[in-house]
Symmetry: C2
Subunit: 152 residues, 2 copies
């Protein structure tokens, strides 16, 4: 099953990891470029989770890059299990964070213009959308890795 | 792999399905027993998703019950794929709905007592907690079934 695209150590996996990192960084930047995010619990949650997703994705992207461009190391069952569990946890947490952010932003926009000064809510929406894209790529990674783990 | 506990057609799966149905019905009741839920998008989302989870879980609980108590039908790959995809979709949607409900309730409670008359917010919190428990059981079902599908 070494040819499964998207599993750890392939070029498709490298692309998925880089996409996750880019979207997470974009989400974090859209959220953090103003200073008011810490007054809402959901936004703090999003910032925390994105701060966890970025180093995780970058580390695994380096592993994939090494595996694609230098030499392919042997896949060990134990390491794969850790990668799959981390992927699943982060994927579920980022789904939770993006949905919380989206629904809180929706409520803020519905409750009037006083909460959304100078395009702030548009930026929150963009941040939630980026987190959602990052979740989608992360889900793809974890599904491929779980499939590889189960079928090996 | 017919002995994997929790996969379709076992008694553990029957217990998981019944738990999902019970928690979903509890969540729906806590949310719908007042008439104000449709003024918030997140709460409408929760009601919609719980309305989808309940018939799905009850149908699969009947399949499991038939399989446990009467006779075990042969598992077909196509049917298993449909069950796994439906499980995954509903599990992710119920996670999204419960997180949205929890964060909106949190924001409503933080923004003052005027939105939370007569223990309404406590009821919303209970509804989100029940949806969260239903998501957890649903995740367990879908993981077992995906593992069975991948390893068969």
């Amino acid at each position: 099953m070494d040819e499964l695209p998207g599993a750890l150590g392939t070029s498709a996996s490298l692309a998925l990891r880089l996409g996750q990192a880019v979207f997470s960084i974009a989400s974090l930047l859209f959220m953090c470029l103003d200073v008011e995010f810490y007054s809402y619990t959901a936004f703090c949650f999003l910032v925390t989770i994105m701060g966890l997703v970025i180093p995780w994705s970058l580390t695994l992207a380096m592993v994939d890059g090494f595996s694609v461009f230098v030499k392919r190391p042997a896949r060990q069952q134990g390491i794969m299990s850790i990668v799959v569990m981390g992927d699943w946890a982060l994927s579920l947490l980022s789904l939770a964070a993006s949905c919380s952010t989206a629904s809180v932003t929706d409520l803020l926009m519905a409750s009037g213009a006083s909460f959304c000064s100078t395009n702030l809510c548009g930026r929150y929406q963009l941040s939630a959308a980026m987190a959602f894209l990052s979740w989608f790529l992360s889900l793809a990674s974890s599904l491929f890795n779980l499939w590889l783990l189960a079928s090996s």
